[in-house]
């Protein structure tokens, strides 16, 4: 006999699907099947119980080999290096729950650490733009129920947010969008003919890196003013055609991703995209939404903001919070060799940072809290495997549109294995002792 656990929340990407059904064995210990998830979500659930899963912390030895240590020893080491550092860095947070994030902040405050999350290499530039110009946005259900103009700019949900289009943005039949896909016109802006672009009514194969110009040209077209023959590789007639398509809808949404946050113009691209959205609100109703990557990077930003006032790159080293991307941001801190201890949790900078930054990480005392073996654990001194949030422990997470959903526990973690929150609590208690705090 098997049991079905319903309304399971998938802990992979910012789409945060909450309609998964996981079939477990009768004794509740084994995951047998996952329904409704995309292949990546399914992979996460099924492989959480892989036989070669690490279940205990391990410390790197002089000769490069690993030696298993207890969680107590691991917590001792972690507390020691964080409390003893002049400027420790606590990075990641995006694949764990808000409860763990909050515990981490307590440690960071006592140690005068810099706290940063994966927005640093994802939508950090979006946050900078929002701080300049604002953000007209909505929840994903509004798209489902009202939107008839969908723009994907510099993002590829077919690969990065696989169920986004069927749950929210293209296919669903909502209250005012009963004809589903037929109610909507889809525009994709991407230098490649991506799998998402193949679903579009209009694909603009933009010259790579020229998004700022094209966004600006669309605003010029909305004003019916003069345009050069070609902008960003796109003929002016096409630009005017797209402007008319955008203008003629009754509810439009611009989804955007790394194609505009990571190219040379960075936050200026997003500034212009938000300006375009604001501009379109003079004609009809428009919103804009960043396609957040990790399932709880948004949550990390929210918790940091309500506790310290800033959403990422928060420097607590002077005893009060400071924020200045470019100065207090992880990539720059590592590039300048300015941190002398690093804790990585719920993320993989070893794989996803430029190698020059990883080189510094490899030199300093470091801890990697991650259920998986990763390039980060491969260069850290201590690797602490933990339970999977959303599978073996619940806890709050925030979707890409900031909607909070409490993830569920489906099965028990392996025997004796700790959760992020439990391990960080051990570290916090040790830091308190070291710092003499009651």
């Amino acid at each position: 006999m098997t049991k079905a656990v319903t309304d399971v929340v998938c802990p992979f990407c910012g789409t945060l699907c909450d309609d998964l059904e996981v079939t477990v064995s009768d004794d509740g210990k084994q995951i047998l099947e996952v329904a409704n998830a995309c292949v990546i979500g399914t992979a996460k659930f099924m492989h959480s119980q892989a036989k070669d899963r690490l279940t205990r912390p391990r410390m790197r030895q002089e000769d490069g080999s690993w030696k298993e240590v207890s969680y107590e020893e691991a917590a001792d080491y972690t507390a020691k290096i964080l409390a003893g550092a002049k400027k420790p860095l606590m990075y990641g947070w995006s694949s764990t729950n808000c409860e763990a994030q909050s515990m981490g902040h307590e440690i960071a405050e006592m140690c005068g650490a810099v706290v940063d999350n994966t927005a640093a290499v994802c939508h950090g530039t979006t946050l900078i733009a929002v701080q300049d110009i604002g953000l007209p946005s909505c929840t994903l259900g509004e798209i489902k129920n009202r939107a008839d103009r969908i723009i994907f700019w510099g993002c590829n949900p077919a690969h990065a947010h696989p169920r986004h289009m069927s749950r929210y943005s293209i296919f669903p039949r909502g209250f005012f969008t009963g004809k589903g896909q037929k109610s909507r016109k889809v525009v994709v802006v991407d230098p490649r003919l991506t799998d998402t672009a193949r679903l579009a009514d209009i694909h603009i194969q933009i010259e790579q890196g020229r998004d700022y110009e094209l966004l600006n040209a669309l605003r010029v077209a909305l004003n019916n003013e003069w345009l050069p023959d070609v902008v960003a590789g796109v003929p002016k007639e096409k630009i005017r055609e797209v402007a008319d398509v955008l203008k003629s809808g009754r509810f439009g949404i611009i989804f955007f991703g790394m194609g505009v946050t990571q190219t040379l113009s960075k936050n200026h691209n997003i500034d212009e995209a938000i300006a375009l959205t604001k501009h379109l609100n003079e004609f009809t109703k428009y919103s804009i939404m960043p396609m957040r990557g990790h399932y709880n990077v948004t949550g990390s930003g929210e918790v940091l903001a309500w506790q310290f006032g800033f959403p990422y790159s928060v420097d607590l080293s002077r005893g009060f919070a400071r924020y200045n991307p470019g100065d207090t941001s992880t990539i720059d801190l590592l590039a300048r060799g300015e941190v002398d201890a690093m804790l990585t949790i719920a993320s993989d900078p070893g794989a996803h940072f430029p190698i020059s930054c990883v080189k510094h990480l490899a030199k300093i005392p470091s801890v990697c809290i991650d259920p998986h073996q990763t390039p980060t654990s491969g260069v850290s001194k201590l690797h602490v495997p933990v339970a999977f949030v959303g599978i073996e422990v619940g806890g709050n997470a925030y979707r890409m549109d900031n909607v909070p959903i409490d993830t569920r526990k489906v099965v028990e973690p392996p025997e004796g294995m700790k959760t992020d929150e439990e391990f960080l609590t051990m570290v916090r208690d040790r830091v308190k002792k070291i710092k003499g705090v009651k």
């Binding site: 309304d7 604002g134 009202r146 909607v403 909070p404």
Partner: protein
């Protein structure tokens, strides 16, 4: 639990009618008691003012739009960040304080119970996470109903019982406290970029008017007998001439009697009245209509109001009146954030600078001061700044100073660049009333507590009530040499007790106490129709499942306090 005796203070307690007499207040096991033993810790309140803990009836302190404000205004943290130390986490933010700062600053001013004014139900988990991280003060949150698709459909068909059943379900699902209404109908219209500016403008598609929404929600609220009344932010906020919309809104409550077991007497609470008391036709002939609005409220005793005082600061506006915020960014061209929430509501955020050099801002300040000076019953008029919309809550002591001291008001009026216009466009120059300490206690303690249906628990110092007690360094017997002394005294209390635990001593936080989240559990009889409608809408239109919408675990609301309402007849 500890015993305390607060000795020899001048007590101001409207619940017992004590107007400054020297009286001892005894605390035991978290409650006010008649007397305590000789081992009780003595707090010397000689020459000081003693009141119950203050009650904040309307502020935006926890939730998605508050946090959006924090995220998009890093500049709000400049210059005023306080490092961690003692019992305090680090604390920052001027107009949108972090949750730690919110708890500390309210507590230092003697506030012990605070209402988060607008909770979008889909985001209730977020609101409660922030409430959990706000130290010391008890809090509750008001879910918004005035643009909710269930409510619009039921009230179109005049189904009060179904509306009531839905309200009860939603209060339980979100651990909410009251029926909040913001820009009824207009915020649903904003889903299409439109608005409802009068009470008779129909909502697109749903074809119901704001007047029908307001009436229906008042009736549903009384049908349930909830502790608080319908709490409304009317249509047409902030526009010259809007006092007519306000009066149209208030008239809907005429003849309706309050029905409840909590001592509440009003059926409508009008919030941030200052923003809704404008005359004129444009910003040039903009004028105060505080008299017209307060005349009506003075005569109609089934209404309570809060002021929404402008404090003349750079602050951040944030409201579920989405179309208003879009309008505001069009006026001042400062950064605009907006979030439309499926099936429920919306929110907008725009920074605003209330400069004393701008005549409109100065007149707005005057309106906010006129209202409490013209209100005859301090038990029906409460002090707020609609934090942070008209100003940060940390300015309450300044507002109290302006109300208690005609001299302080005069100083401010003389400092206005366009003093003549302020005097010609409002009646502020003709008002010499000075609010007394007893009236302040009514307007910040007993009054709001009664309006919220909590008068048996808080807002007073009667034995049996919660031991929320504040001692201020203010001697009522000594004439006030400098009005700024009033502000200083109310900014940092000498002692604050929350549920019998000493949390503030000499203006510093000494304990985080054990805060509670208040919510209302209204038990109605089973309503299969409404349950089916809820099931259907989650299946078809919401973007989260019903089971996940309702999940509010203990790690999110660690210390809930349910007010039970038996509404099943």
């Amino acid at each position: 639990m500890s015993e305390y005796i607060i000795k020899n203070g001048h007590v101001f307690d409207p619940v017992q009618g004590i107007k400054g007499d020297k009286k001892d207040i005894a605390i035991k096991d978290g409650k006010i008691v008649d007397k305590v033993g000789s081992s009780a810790k003595v707090v010397d309140a000689k020459d000081k003012t003693v009141m119950a803990g203050a009650v904040e009836i309307h502020a935006h302190i926890a939730g998605p739009k508050v946090n959006l404000g924090r995220i998009y205004r890093p500049e709000d943290k400049l210059f005023s960040y306080v490092p961690k130390g003692g019992n305090q986490r680090m604390a920052g933010g001027f107009s949108i304080p972090t949750t730690f700062k919110t708890g500390y600053e309210y507590a230092k001013m003697g506030y012990t119970t605070c209402m988060e004014a607008a909770m979008p139900p889909l985001f209730s988990r977020h609101v409660h996470e922030e409430i959990r991280d706000t130290p010391i003060i008890d809090e509750a949150a008001f879910p918004v109903f005035g643009n909710n698709w269930f409510v619009l459909e039921y009230l179109k068909n005049q189904e009060i019982e179904n509306t009531a059943a839905y309200i009860a379900w939603l209060l339980r699902a979100t651990k909410g406290y009251a029926v909040k209404v913001v820009n009824p109908g207009g915020t649903e219209a904003w889903g299409w970029g439109l608005n409802c500016l009068t009470v008779n403008d129909p909502v697109p598609y749903f074809d119901i008017t704001p007047a029908e929404i307001i009436k229906g929600l008042i009736e549903a609220n009384e049908y349930l007998g909830l502790p608080h009344s319908m709490h409304i932010h009317p249509n047409n906020l902030g526009n010259p001439g809007n006092y007519e919309t306000t009066l149209d809104t208030l008239k809907i409550a005429e003849g309706i009697k309050a029905k409840n077991k909590f001592g509440r007497e009003q059926v409508l609470h009008l919030t941030h009245t200052q923003f809704h008391s404008y005359g004129g036709t444009n910003w040039g002939d903009f004028e105060s209509k505080a008299k017209e609005v307060t005349d009506y409220v003075n005569k109609n005793k089934n209404i309570t109001i809060d002021t929404g005082n402008v404090t003349l600061d750079e602050t951040t506006t944030m409201t579920a009146d989405g179309p208003f915020e879009h309008h505001l960014t069009g006026l001042n061209h400062l950064k605009w954030a907006n979030v439309d929430v499926e099936l429920e509501t919306a929110a907008g955020v725009v920074p605003y600078i209330y400069s004393p050099s701008i005549s409109v801002c100065a007149i707005q300040w005057a309106v906010g001061i006129e209202i409490p000076l013209m209100m005859k019953d301090p038990m029906r008029c409460f002090i707020t700044t609609d934090h942070p919309n008209a100003g940060p809550f940390t300015r309450y002591p300044r507002v109290i100073k302006w109300l208690m001291s005609a001299k302080a008001r005069e100083t401010q009026i003389n400092a206005f660049k366009h003093k003549d216009k302020v005097l010609s466009q409002s009646a502020i120059g003709t008002l010499d009333r000075e609010i007394s300490l007893y009236e302040i206690a009514q307007m910040t303690r007993a009054g709001p507590a009664k309006s919220l249906g909590l008068s048996s628990m808080i807002g007073g110092l009667k034995p049996g009530m919660d031991a929320d007690v504040v001692v201020y360094n203010f001697n009522p017997d000594k004439p006030v040499a400098d009005p700024d002394q009033i502000e200083a005294a109310f900014q940092k209390a000498s002692h604050v007790f929350k549920s019998g635990v000493e949390v503030v001593t000499d203006g510093e936080i000494v304990s985080n106490g054990n805060k509670r989240t208040l919510w209302v559990n209204a038990k109605t009889k089973e309503n299969p129709q409404v349950m089916r409608d809820i099931q259907e809408k989650f299946l078809k239109y919401y973007s989260v499942s019903r089971a996940n919408y309702e999940a509010l675990g203990h790690h999110i609301v660690p210390n809930p306090y349910a007010i039970e309402v038996d509404a099943g007849q």
